[in-house]
Symmetry: C2
Subunit: 226 residues, 2 copies
DNA sequence: AGCTTAATCGACAGGGTGTTGAGCGGGTGT
DNA sequence: ACACCCGCTCAACACCCTGTCGATTAAGCT
């Protein structure tokens, strides 16, 4: 009822049989159509018929490849979060070398990834309210990032670079939540928003002050700024 | 096309004729039904027929009172934002007396207001993605709060209590965005969330460090902590 | 050739929205 | 007292979208 995403299975997205069968092309055609239409109108204004016709198939045939419209978006979201995870990889290990530079790098990479797929991200944010599956996946992804940042904060505190304060998990949740909402406003462009050019530095500033109480954290183990 | 909310007009919500006519009762019955059903299921799972039957009328009659399901939610949202605005009133004037206490008071009042109407707030957050009218109203409300906080930050900087840094507007947007998203997660309970009991203090901590670089800002004009 | 399986679609059922047009009852004015 | 407007009501309709069923074709294996 809530499991299947593609007919062949979710994670490694291996196609149906061995060699590239006709169905693979249809499946990617649906995905491509969804991304294209998302650039033009909101997810809610795209019908399954639009997706099917865009991929050159009939509506019932669409159901052979995806169980619902939302499942298409879920597949798209999977790709984006994988890309974001990959982009963040390794940054945490070098935090102590230069905290400001590396926190900035982390935020900047997420910004680049989300900005590069803003239509998909925006659509997900919009249906998260109505679709439990998207909500669940997003919660999972967020939980990973929250944990990673929490661990980084605790490491910085342990080496004496950051002062004690809020529970690291609560702080991590607050900062990650801020980023999500601020990016949404910036990309969506409705309501009060930070200019896209400034958003990384604005977020960075709040992160640094919340974690270190200063925008210029020390670089070596428990050493002051020279 | 996008204006009317109630048949009689929006703002002061005066009923249709002079004395309480039958229609007034129907209208409030619809609103009450919406709030009641929202406590049980998601907004998307409530049909206009549910609202109409709950108020003891037929579906076409519903359209005599509201142009759409969303318009009902919009009316509910109006009430909540008015209450929040009222709750925030006057706090900014006394900020310098004791910044920490008064920022906390501000956040706590918003928390209480939203928490007291969490079903409505959650529903609005959910349809904001699909309904332009809700999006517009929310953006308007947020803009007011962003401006008020921005002004307060500038005042604190002018009296020397807060250091210069980010443009006050950008900082205000980031902090307000954080609150919105964190409250949403806390009230919705899906995904990583701060416990409801702690959320005010967590938010306060990030606000204070971002604005003052310390969690114990000075109380008198340009005086240090004793 | 015969069997299986991937792939396809016409046609249907169901449920939701928004609109139309007709009807009813109580004030109000003359 | 009569007509008449107007607030109010709903059955019935047109429409759109979703999801499913069953029949059908094409390709591969034995």
């Amino acid at each position: 009822m809530t499991t299947a995403r593609t007919p062949a299975g979710a994670a490694p997205s291996r196609g149906r049989r061995a060699g590239r069968s006709a169905g693979d092309e249809r499946e990617t055609a649906i995905l491509a159509t969804a991304e294209r239409l998302l650039r033009q109108r909101a997810f809610g204004d795209i019908s399954i018929d639009d997706l099917a016709r865009g991929a050159g198939i009939s509506r019932p045939t669409f159901y052979f490849y995806f169980p619902s419209k939302d499942a298409v978006l879920l597949t798209l979201l999977d790709r984006v979060t994988e890309e974001a995870d990959a982009a963040a990889g390794g940054v945490f290990d070098r935090l102590a070398e230069d905290p400001r530079a590396h926190w900035r790098e982390l935020i900047a990479r997420f910004h680049a990834t989300f900005g590069g797929h803003r239509d998909v991200v925006l659509a997900c944010a919009q249906v998260r309210g109505t679709n439990a599956e998207v909500r669940r996946l997003w919660a999972e992804v967020l939980e990973r990032w929250v944990r990673a940042v929490q661990a980084a904060i605790e490491t910085e505190r342990a080496r004496g670079a950051a002062p004690d304060g809020l529970p690291a998990r609560d702080l991590s949740i607050a900062l990650n939540s801020m980023n999500e909402r601020v990016w949404y406003a910036t990309f969506a462009g409705d309501g009060p928003a930070v200019a896209e050019r400034d958003v990384v530095d604005v977020l960075l500033d709040v992160w640094l002050t919340a974690i270190y109480r200063t925008t210029t954290p020390p670089v070596m183990p428990s050493a002051g700024t020279p």
